[in-house]
């Protein structure tokens, strides 16, 4: 057993490609997603609807365009032009001032600035609105209203009002990577032994199927766990994504998910006879559904009903709920024991199935 695990580690450490997938990819993915999503926006083109310009609206406009975030400042003829300009795609946000702005302000009537953003790029829209709101709040303070806002910024997201899925990149990446590393790498490594013929020798030896499986998965449990931890560390230190709930609970749930992914990987390898098939199966049977149907990128409630049903079968879907609850909401076990139970049941099924399907002979 010990020899088996050592051998497996040697395979991993000696293969540059495996090492890259194991350790290079998490790093690249976290950085890529992290920077792509949190990257500051500079010089976004913004237009203005200011039907009756006055001192206050000019002041706010100046502050907005001096901030460095926004450029342009083109004045549109009226609300009716907004849609047209968004469609042309050259502006990202429109700032709409109420008429009689300064007068209302003076009378203490809280005039409204509408921030209309093109949320077909939800991430950028969100940022722009946040920046603009911040600047308007600063203006509030500067004219002495302090806690009670004088000007009310009223953001409206067009095209994608809920803006879901944007903050989920860390939970999502952890899920994808654990799935990929655990399932794909084990299925490939077992398929490789079939391809090179070494599986024949293993089968002819007194090793039991259980030992072969255990020897195969142990290294990947360890490495996947290290991976999960390093993603968490990286997202905390590089992007400041906190873990609000119990870290211990998070790690325990991760191990459960790793085991599930590994048993899936072994299950795949009982079907695939060469590395290429194992790779394709993991890609299409695991990776794409994980990305598309788990709610990582596309919100499940927006999917057609059929896909919603299918997504119930996706292990990552449940894990994402759990990990999100712990990391972002700080929720405790009571909130996701059902999801945990589902994962446990799935793991059981796959382990049983793969031990049963793992052949003691060739066919």
């Amino acid at each position: 057993m010990k020899r088996f695990i050592i051998k497996e580690f040697l395979h991993i450490f000696r293969d540059v490609r495996t090492m890259l997938i194991l350790f290079g990819m998490p790093l690249v993915q976290v950085l890529l997603f992290g920077f792509a999503i949190t990257n500051e926006i500079r010089d976004a083109r913004v237009a203005v609807v200011d039907a009756v310009p006055d001192v206050a609206t000019k002041d706010i406009r100046n502050k907005l365009f001096a901030s460095g975030y926004f450029t342009g400042g083109e004045i549109l003829a009226g609300q009716h032009e907004i849609d047209e300009r968004f469609r042309q795609g050259d502006i990202k946000m429109v700032v709409v001032f109420e008429p009689e702005f300064a007068q209302k302000l003076e009378r203490g009537e809280n005039p409204i600035v509408q921030l209309i953003a093109d949320a077909s790029d939800p991430n950028a829209a969100n940022l722009l609105v946040n920046y603009a709101t911040g600047i308007i709040n600063a203006y509030n303070r500067s004219i002495g209203y302090g806690m009670q806002p004088a000007v009310i910024a009223e953001p409206r997201m067009l095209y994608n009002p809920s803006l879901k899925g944007v903050y989920m990149f860390v939970p999502g990446i952890i899920t994808i990577l654990l799935m990929l590393v655990s399932a794909m790498m084990t299925s490939i490594s077992i398929a490789r032994e079939k391809e090179t013929g070494t599986m024949e020798v293993l089968l002819v030896s007194p090793l039991k199927p259980f030992s072969i499986i255990l020897g195969k998965v142990t290294p990947y449990v360890v490495l996947s766990f290290i991976n999960a931890v390093s993603i968490l560390l990286m997202s905390y230190y590089v992007f400041g994504v906190p873990v609000k709930g119990s870290l211990l609970l998070l790690l325990a749930e991760s191990i459960l998910f790793i085991l599930l992914a590994l048993s899936l990987g072994i299950f795949i390898s009982t079907v695939a006879n060469n590395q290429q098939t194992a790779m394709m199966l993991s890609m299409f049977a695991l990776m794409l559904p994980t990305i598309l149907l788990s709610g990582f990128i596309f919100p499940i409630e927006n999917m057609p009903e059929v896909l919603q049903w299918i997504s119930l079968l996706m292990p990552p879907r449940w894990f994402i709920v759990i990990i999100k609850s712990i990391m972002l909401k700080g929720a405790g076990f009571a909130y996701f024991w059902q999801e945990t139970l589902i994962l446990l049941a799935m793991t059981g099924v796959f382990i049983l199935a793969s031990i049963r399907k793992f052949k003691i002979r060739l066919d």
């Binding site: 010990k2 020899r3 088996f4 050592i6 051998k7 040697l10 395979h11 000696r14 293969d15 090179t196 013929g197 070494t198 599986m199 024949e200 020798v201 293993l202 089968l203 002819v204 030896s205 007194p206 090793l207 003691i360 002979r361 060739l362 066919d363």
Partner: protein, 312 residues
């Protein structure tokens, strides 16, 4: 009666509609080198996988050292040494890591059992740190053999151990097998090379899933029922064409740059002189003809042509 190590009775195996093995009967004695000789597709690998408990026979019974390959596979997997066709080594592990690993999965210690493989392993020991993937064919073969021997198997099963290995290594390999045999181990080996048959104690000639004949190589050659003439000369294609048209000629086949002719077993069959005269009469002069003793390859071809469902 010598002690029997392996027996097969009516061993058959089909994959879908293709029949890989058509009911083989054979027995291998303890301590002998038994060769299954035949081309690719004869069914050697399928048979060996059944012997090593990797495949279930479709029909018939096989027992190894008294154990049934289906029921007693757990016991057999302890006492068999198996070297599959492709030298199943881990190419990314070093020579010594491979040996240690294979010892490990049989639960034996390399140091305790070192004496079993010393003869062979010492030849590759200078490269102990080298990755198995970087070894030459001959060295891979020695390493694979060491790995198959490290747990002191009672029966050693070698599937085409000399394929893809150069002539020098092939020769050395057979010398190693002879030494192993003197240690009492039973060796079953397969090969597509007819010349290697002569190295075995007994052989079975295989073709398309059947055994055509079994015996010592000497017996098989002695049983060859016909005369063989070897003709050399220029215009080899013409010699082939002309002799094939002659009466009572059973076959005319290329053997290197010569032609081997076997005649029918009758008094009317042409003699060497008559064949030579005939060729000269057809304008082919300057050839030499002499009677030769049949080789295993002649026997194989002859048996193949007797088969009712012969190739193509």
């Amino acid at each position: 009666m010598p002690d029997v190590s392996i027996t097969g009775e009516g061993v058959g195996k089909s994959y879908g509609t293709t029949t890989a093995l058509k009911g083989l009967d054979f027995s291998v004695n303890k301590g002998e080198i038994f060769g299954f000789i035949g081309p690719d597709g004869a069914g050697k690998t399928t048979l060996f996988r059944i012997l090593t408990t990797l495949l279930l026979p479709g029909s018939g019974k096989v027992s190894v050292e008294g154990y049934d390959v289906v029921k007693d596979y757990r016991i057999l997997r302890r006492i068999l040494g198996y070297m599959p066709g492709k030298f199943s080594l881990y190419h990314d592990l070093s020579v010594e890591e491979n040996l240690r690993f294979f010892a490990g999965i049989f639960g034996v210690d390399v140091h305790e059992n070192y004496h079993l493989v010393k003869d062979i392993y010492s030849q590759i020991e200078p490269f102990a740190k080298r990755r198995a993937g970087k070894l030459s064919g001959g060295m891979k073969q020695k390493l694979a053999l060491s790995c198959a021997l490290i747990h002191k198997p009672v029966v050693l099963v070698l599937d085409e151990p000399t394929t893809g290995v150069d002539a020098v290594s092939r020769r050395e390999f057979w010398e190693m097998l002879l030494r192993l045999k003197s240690g009492g181990i039973t060796i079953v080996v397969s090969t597509p090379y007819m010349d290697e048959a002569m190295r075995c104690d007994r052989v079975a000639l295989m073709q398309q899933g059947s055994i055509m004949t079994t015996g010592t190589p000497q017996e098989i050659i002695a049983a060859f029922p016909r005369k063989i003439y070897r003709i050399k000369g220029s215009g080899i294609l013409d010699i082939l064409r002309l002799t094939r048209n002659m009466k009572y000629i059973r076959s005319a086949e290329l053997f290197g740059d010569a032609v081997h002719i076997s005649t029918e077993n009758t008094d009317q069959a042409p003699t060497a002189g008559e064949i030579s005269q005939y060729l000269s009469a057809q304008g082919l002069s300057g050839h030499t003809i002499k009677e030769v003793v049949a080789g295993i390859e002649d026997c194989f071809i002859d048996r193949m042509k007797q088969q009712p469902d012969k190739h193509e």
